[in-house]
Symmetry: C3
Subunit: 134 residues, 3 copies
Amino acid sequence: MPHLVVLYTNNLETQSDMSALCRKLADAMLTVKDEASKQVFPTGGTRVLAFPAAHFAVADGQRDYAFVYLNLRMGRGRSDDVKKKAGEALRAVALEHFTDLLAKRYIGITVQVDEGQEAFDAKLSSIHPLFNRN
Amino acid sequence: MPHLVVLYTNNLETQSDMSALCRKLADAMLTVKDEASKQVFPTGGTRVLAFPAAHFAVADGQRDYAFVYLNLRMGRGRSDDVKKKAGEALRAVALEHFTDLLAKRYIGITVQVDEGQEAFDAKLSSIHPLFNRN
Amino acid sequence: MPHLVVLYTNNLETQSDMSALCRKLADAMLTVKDEASKQVFPTGGTRVLAFPAAHFAVADGQRDYAFVYLNLRMGRGRSDDVKKKAGEALRAVALEHFTDLLAKRYIGITVQVDEGQEAFDAKLSSIHPLFNRN
């Protein structure tokens, strides 16, 4: 159920390996542990999806700005501490991945973690059985 | 105001007819009735938008996994029962549409229904008048 | 932190200049003032991202319908009045931008403003320093 959506200005498409970023973010999610040292995000339910914006406007539009938005939607009921750990894990990946670009160009990166408030939630999966429901 | 957003890994683009899926999902939304047997989603306000992710990472990345996320945002004030009926209608379409792929490949499908909490809501439409505001 | 996401049916791609729309929306956001006449959305943190849907279904599917969804996510703690002013500013831009299309074709446009409820929020930016943290 956890998923991370990455929205970004498409002027980054040739400047940053976004597939590699997705993989690093997913790997980071898989390392997050809760208070009982249990994996927070089930392996079979962890997914990162990235979407370049075909059109965009950033700030005053006077320079070649770029922007990346990382939004993680977690299942309900986790502690504030776990949400913070998840956010910090994503932030650390983003900082590592974009360090060079942050120094070389105008770019803004935002990481936000939301707790889902869904009124209905259903899953169909041929992936979960691979991972013993963890 | 209701809308359904479908986010999916682009390895499905040639394996599944996503335009057909959108139509089936919209048709299913139009059949949902409330406690008074009234159509829940106004015809002129029903829309399904699907976006393939240009980049993605799923689970441990060791196999060719696919993922589809269906997220319905409903107007406020509907009963839990109506939200559940809407979710079940979408789930049934997804199950029918992806039955073959669920058997043939690794794929995860999640259906979530959210109740919008918007602080502002405005509409401009040349579609609604066609449907007598139903 | 504020950002505006525009989701639209891709039958509009050749009928409407969506890059121009993004710029006009960002400019409108930058004009919104709070009760103390202070700019609500920091220049360096204002971004509009637009995504054409590769697949879609609208209403009964019997005509060539189009749809545009504008969703602004604001930071927490603003007054209802400020949220409404922000929504009205976006609605005014949408109305101006789509007036011709509203008269010429079937199109629905929805503007919604949400208040973010994020459990975690972090920023990395080489844009903000340009604007003195306003």
